[in-house]
């Protein structure tokens, strides 16, 4: 290769980098930071996250009720045989590794995306089975869909030939809301209890 060709190649490469730098959207570092295995996102009312109100039986429960506490939140459904109980058990295992003082500052919340089947006492008992601090809340399917959407998730009811009737397909992320309600850490569906513990501790 002649020197001219090499020079042209180098210039073209530099130009490409420059253009990508200029045109690609920049993710602002205080908006989204990738830490070991999970993502931390700033709450932006109307854009990401935010307060909501659902029900524990007849009692309204709002996210803002737990201001000053670290909220660990998971959306799932009680007839889910596999991914939901696994994730809830992983969260519970992380909670059991906290000291009593640390645990005092954490509120785990299970949000049912299947209010037709999960309600009242049954939902409370299901959530508390994994860890006594867990509360189980839900609302109408639309209310729950709006909330999971606020947090970048989604669920859909799918008719099936199973004796279960319909199945629910859903995103399976765990959300940790900072004590001041300003940040959300998003943990992947295949997180370990070690990762959950690290993320919880870093918010305490």
């Amino acid at each position: 290769m002649s020197k001219t060709l090499i020079l042209i190649a180098v210039l073209a490469f530099a130009l490409g980098i420059g253009m990508a730098w200029y045109y690609l959207p920049q993710s602002s570092p205080d908006l989204e930071t990738n830490t070991d295995g999970y993502t931390k996102v700033k709450m932006t009312e109307g854009k990401f996250g935010g307060d909501f109100t659902l029900f524990q039986g007849d009692k309204p429960v709002s996210l803002s009720d737990f201001h000053g506490q670290l909220v660990v939140m998971y959306f799932g459904f009680a007839s889910c045989p596999d991914v939901c109980p696994t994730t809830l058990a992983i969260i519970a295992s992380a909670l059991r590794q906290l000291t009593p003082e640390e645990l005092e500052a954490v509120q785990p919340i299970f949000i049912s995306i299947d209010p037709e089947r999960d309600q009242g006492e049954k939902l409370t008992a299901y959530a508390a089975y994994f860890h006594p601090d867990f509360i189980g809340i839900t609302g109408t399917p639309d209310e729950v869909q709006n909330i999971i959407n606020q947090y970048g998730g989604f669920f859909i009811k799918v008719e099936s030939d199973s004796a279960l009737g319909y199945l629910v397909e859903h995103t399976s992320k765990t959300y940790i809301i900072s004590k001041d309600g300003q940040y959300v850490s998003i943990l992947p569906h295949d997180m370990t209890s070690d990762l959950a513990l690290t993320a919880i501790r870093s918010g305490l």
Binding site: S79, P81, V83, T86, G153, S160, S172
Partner: protein
């Protein structure tokens, strides 16, 4: 060096082949010796498939569904499939598959699970599982339940599955 390698190659290959053959032979010997003499002529999947670690997820109070998991090892040169499972304590038992599609956790009913010749099929969280629907009672950690597996040749095998929390499954995947 090149010449040396070229000279060595047949020796290396020969050693490897003998090694592999020896391993193969060992497995065969163990299998045959384990079987009663009458079983040498039997060819049912139930006799040729080993079920490892059958387990059922314990249920929360009021929860009427659960999943059963296990590894099916096919010790034969014939491919088989698990076609159905029965459990006395449930109104329905189905075979389901969980998968992650993009970010969505999906579950669907499937008709069977293939168990390749000399291969295995793993039923584990995040993959295939046996779905127990309409449970009559709570399944408590530390107990055991009987599952009857039916294979593609209609042979049946009964296994004792331990009930447990299965809390750390993601870790080992």
């Amino acid at each position: 060096m090149n010449t040396f390698l070229r000279a060595m190659m047949p020796a290396i290959l020969l050693t490897t082949t003998i090694g592999l053959y020896a391993c193969d032979n060992n497995t065969e010997t163990v299998n045959t010796s384990k079987l009663p003499s009458s079983a040498l002529v039997s060819t049912t999947a139930a006799e040729l498939i080993t079920v490892n670690q059958p387990r059922i997820r314990a249920t929360a109070p009021g929860q009427t569904v659960s999943g059963a998991f296990m590894t099916l090892v096919n010790n034969s040169a014939t491919a088989y499939a698990l076609t159905s499972v029965s459990f006395n304590g449930a109104s329905n038992v189905e075979i389901h598959e969980t998968s992650m599609n993009e970010d969505m956790m999906q579950m669907r009913k499937v008709s069977h699970i293939d168990i390749a010749a000399n291969g295995s099929a793993e039923l584990k969280p995040g993959g295939y599982h046996i779905m127990l629907i309409g449970l009559e009672k709570e399944l408590k950690t530390g107990t055991a339940e009987t599952l009857t597996l039916t294979f593609s040749d209609d042979s049946q095998k009964t296994v004792e599955a331990l009930v447990g929390t299965l809390s750390e499954q993601h870790k080992h995947e």
